[in-house]
Structure formats: C-alpha cells, structure tokens
Symmetry: C2
Subunit: 219 residues, 2 copies
C-alpha cells in the first residue's frame, strides 16, 4: 500500500477453467504454451480488439465492453520481461522491440521488468519501452510518475502479477475465465501465492465465452 | 469408457475463483477447511436447497435451476469417504451415519468409497449407504446397477472426482465457480490431473454469485 492516488489495475487477464494463464511447454515457437492461444479467442472476436488492430467488425456486448475499457484512464503499463519478448539473459542487441510491431497498442510509456539494463525504445504511436532493473516497486513508482495522475495497467504475465499481488500493490484484478481446459501450464493463483487478505470479488458476470471476475480491495 | 447407458454426472461442484474445492486446514471442526463453507453460500440461498431442508422461500433463477436439477434423473450416488464423514481408518462402530441427519437428501442408494468394509446403513426416506472397498470401477458398476437405467451422481470430494476423471469415467462435470478466494486448500484441477483429453466446456453461464461451467465429452 502507498499513498499514491493512481491505481494499479490488471485487465482481461485470461485463465482457463482449470486455472492456467498460459499452457504447458512455453517456447519460442509457442510463447503462450500448448493451447494457450485459445485462452484469448474470446478477446480476438471483439470489436474493440479488432479496432486496435485497425480492423472493422467484431462482436459487441459484455466481452467487448471489457476489452474496450482496457486502456481507459490508463497512463502507463508495467509488464514482465517474458511478456515483452522471448529473449533471455543480457540483451544481445537492440533488435527485439516487442511482439506488437511498429505501432504497439499501448500509446503510452511501458515499463518492462528485467535484470538487464537497456536504453529506452521509442516506438510509433506514443509507446516507449523503458527497462527497469530495480524491481517491482521501482517500476511502479516510475509508472505512476509517467502516468501523471492516470491509472497504471499491469499487463502480466502470471508471475509478474503474483509478485505485485504478494506485495499488496494491486488495486484491481480483472480475471477472464475462458471456457477452455489446458491441463497444465502457468497458474495465476499458484500454490505459493497464499491468501489474498484484503481482496474480494466485487463483480461477477459472464458471456457464453468467458466469465469476468473483478477482484478489488475490501474496506 | 464403458458401454453403460447410464451417465456419471457431477453437479454443482463448487470451486473458488482461485481453484479450490475446499479450504486449507480441513479438520473435524472444519470439514470444508478454512473459508470452505463460503464456497456453498450461493447454494444455501436457493429455493431448491431450502426445499430439500423442508424450508420455504429462497431465491429463484439460474442458480436455483442448477440446484433443483441435482437429483433429476439420478438413481444412485457415489462419494468418497471423507465426504461421508470425518472417521478415518477402520470403523470403530456403526454410529456415524453421515452429515445429513436421519433423512438424507439422496433418497436413493449411495455408494461410499472406503478401504474398510462395513454393512449397509439404511436411513429414512430411501437413502441406503453402501460401503465399497473394491475401488472406483466397482463402485460405479454397483451404482449403475442400483440406478436401474437412471444416471449416477458423483458427489465428491475433489480427490474422488479426480480419480474418476483420470479414469475417463465422468460423462458430465458441472463446476460452480463461486465468487470467493480461499488462498489454499484442495484443488479440483490439481497439478497431477493433467490434460482432460476428450472433454470440453459445453456451456458457460453466470449469476452474480457463481459462474456455472458444464464440461462434457467431445465427439
């Protein structure tokens, strides 16, 4: 907890019915693990997602409302290094600039947690990737400053969210329980996470594809 | 898989948002573990549940429909010993006759998996508890015979359902994802369960209290 007024929010973090945020055997060719892409099928169908890719059409309704609100009121994003890319260890060069092409969907500063320093990377459309080596609290402080009064989005992956949850730094966690079974992989609610004291589900709704649970601080 | 026509169905098996079917530190005083009773709050509010207890009132709607259908078309029930009671090891005497009082809500034969033989216990209202020591397939065969063409309900707990899932013997698994966080306990989808090949979610709906997912065989 801090006295910051900016909130740290996780939006649309998809897990399977059996609790996995990524499938088993994650690899370069399969960054979401076996079956992991199926977790996000519900999102790819929405009008808001397609619009972010510059495409028209797509479904409206509950799922679309959640996707459309992802970046509403958000001024900066934090993500783990594995979400930024498959490169491990020291950065060999500056060629890897994320999964999202020349114009990433963030359009604001993005803080990437890493053990290996690297100069910021400025992309088209207002996204700049900053590399933070001083840990999760430093990344949050930098993101809050960059967001300049707006909220901060915590994008993932599961391990990064767990670290912020354990530190009590997450203000809102929206999980999207997707109607798939993965049978293994990376859990969001892993056995080591323990009791989330001070958090409760404030809102539960569902489409035919995904159940949305919003978990927020109590009291 | 067998050529039986009776289906083995799990109904209203409640798990938390973080995946636990019972809370941590299960004990005699706390058979569902710490916080575990909260998993079932949604059910206790329904008209169908209250009617089973001989009471009036309660909520109608989606959750009530699921609870009301629990025993529809069911001719026999299977449960693990821990669901039947807290007694461990050989039965010291015949005094323990389940958690449900003189007139249990089953009103049909119930097959209790145990390593320790015991004569059947006939209760009021048509429930008879049979104790099966020959394993899960023997219990299923006896339950199918007793159900006489009707379906068989697999009541729980989590470990018993896992055994039947691993053996490919479950035809329908309805999980009720309750809007609580337990932070630990007994998982339904434990790390050892592995991939449920041949199963998929066929139906996802939600009230404000619980998301209902029906998992059935594919193809």
């Amino acid at each position: 907890m801090s006295d910051r007024s900016a909130r740290l929010r996780v939006s649309n973090f998809s897990i399977s019915l059996d609790g996995y945020g990524a499938g088993p055997e994650q690899s370069l060719e399969n960054p979401l693990g076996i079956g992991g892409e199926d977790l996000h099928t519900w999102m790819f169908k929405t009008r808001a997602w397609l619009a972010m890719q510059g495409m028209e059409g797509g479904e409206e309704g509950l799922d679309n409302d959640f996707v459309g609100a992802t970046f509403a009121g958000i001024g900066a994003t934090i993500m783990g290094r594995n979400m930024f890319g498959p490169v491990r260890g020291p950065w060999p060069d500056d060629r890897w600039t994320g999964w999202w092409g020349e114009n990433p969907p963030y359009h604001h500063p993005v803080f990437v947690l890493t053990h290996h320093p690297r100069p910021p990377v400025r992309m088209a459309g207002g996204t700049t990737f900053h590399f933070v080596t001083e840990g999760i609290e430093a990344a949050l402080a930098q993101a809050v400053a960059a967001a300049d009064g707006a909220d901060v989005s915590l994008a993932g992956g599961a391990g990064t969210i767990q670290q912020y949850l354990e530190a009590g730094l997450v203000d809102e966690l929206h999980i999207a329980i997707s109607r798939v079974l993965l049978g293994g992989g990376e859990r969001l609610f892993g056995d080591g996470l323990g009791r989330l004291d001070g958090y409760a589900c404030s809102d539960l709704t569902s489409s035919a594809s995904v159940a949305h649970a919003r978990i927020t601080r109590t009291g």
